[in-house]
Symmetry: C2
Subunit: 182 residues, 2 copies
């Protein structure tokens, strides 16, 4: 595939989402919901529910200091990202602006776990509507549906698990992403 | 002008830079340089010099806590931005990622001075190469030269004052921006 965008590198460009694609925010939601209420959800309970429906205190959670900084990695993402970063113009694009206290946490989290990603490859935004890359990997239809690039990968998370991906390619894990893009 | 981009609003979209377009960072550089060295530059001395050449301690300055938070507004920008925001899909796009401690300061500064700008309209990035709007207003050629939209406005600052704007439209102040775009 040849890049249709000018990103200064001539490489095909990818916008990779953070929450739910690189960062395991569901594990954090489950952990904080249990701390708050004592409830432990079965995995089935979460399927098909928007995050804010499954976790009624989600706004409190994501506004808690350390919520993003201490998130675990989604398995396999670091290794595949390192290989993608050699071949593609990789950008990490996170709709973080709703939670301004998360901005520095997200930067620090990326610096710790993805030392091969330069600061020039990070975008923290409100809306992804003005992001112009060839490929987008995201777990939210609101980002993928309006994307103008050529390829969209829907990363499976409980909230989107029973939705029809439509024109998007559903991927369940980072091994599938590696098979598709490497 | 009809929007060529899908930003979900149908409006023509504008990416507006912060430093040197909304925020008067030169006044901050001059102030901090004077505090550091006792030197007061004549305005002529700054003309045509890259910021890092004119201000040898610039990295120390921009990494100082409060540097961005306490910047003054460029005259007229708030009033014109408020009117632009009614007609256009306005995004404030700042290449802030090199200075991660500035991220929250920039958010807070915007919230104070531009209360009519929603968080969804803010982008803090490393490179502007993946920003897709119709119009860009910026004081740096490195951002304007690779922009793929239809109109680029070069905002005059000492560092760019004697450069040939080439395909960009030079504007000297916010009154000129209002005359061009409103």
């Amino acid at each position: 595939m040849h890049s249709i965008k000018n990103n200064g590198t001539g490489k095909t460009s990818i916008a990779v989402d953070m929450d739910g694609v690189l960062a395991n925010v569901y594990a954090r939601f489950l952990e904080m919901h249990k701390l708050d209420t004592g409830e432990i959800f079965s995995p089935d309970y979460l399927i098909g529910k928007p995050e804010a429906v499954a976790f009624p205190h989600i706004l409190k959670h994501v506004n808690s200091a350390g919520f993003f900084r201490s998130a675990d990695l989604i398995p396999g993402c670091r290794e595949v990202m390192e290989r993608l970063n050699e071949v593609y113009a990789v950008f990490i694009v996170s709709a973080a602006m709703e939670f301004p206290n998360s901005l520095k946490e997200k930067y620090d989290w990326l610096a710790e776990h993805f030392p091969f990603i330069h600061w020039s490859q990070i975008v923290l935004c409100g809306s992804k509507s003005l992001i112009n890359t060839d490929i987008m990997i995201d777990d939210h239809f609101k980002n993928l549906d309006f994307f103008k690039g050529s390829k969209t990968l829907l990363f499976t998370q409980p909230h989107n698990a029973i939705a029809d991906p439509g024109r998007h390619i559903r991927v369940h894990n980072w091994e599938e992403i590696a098979r598709l893009l490497l």
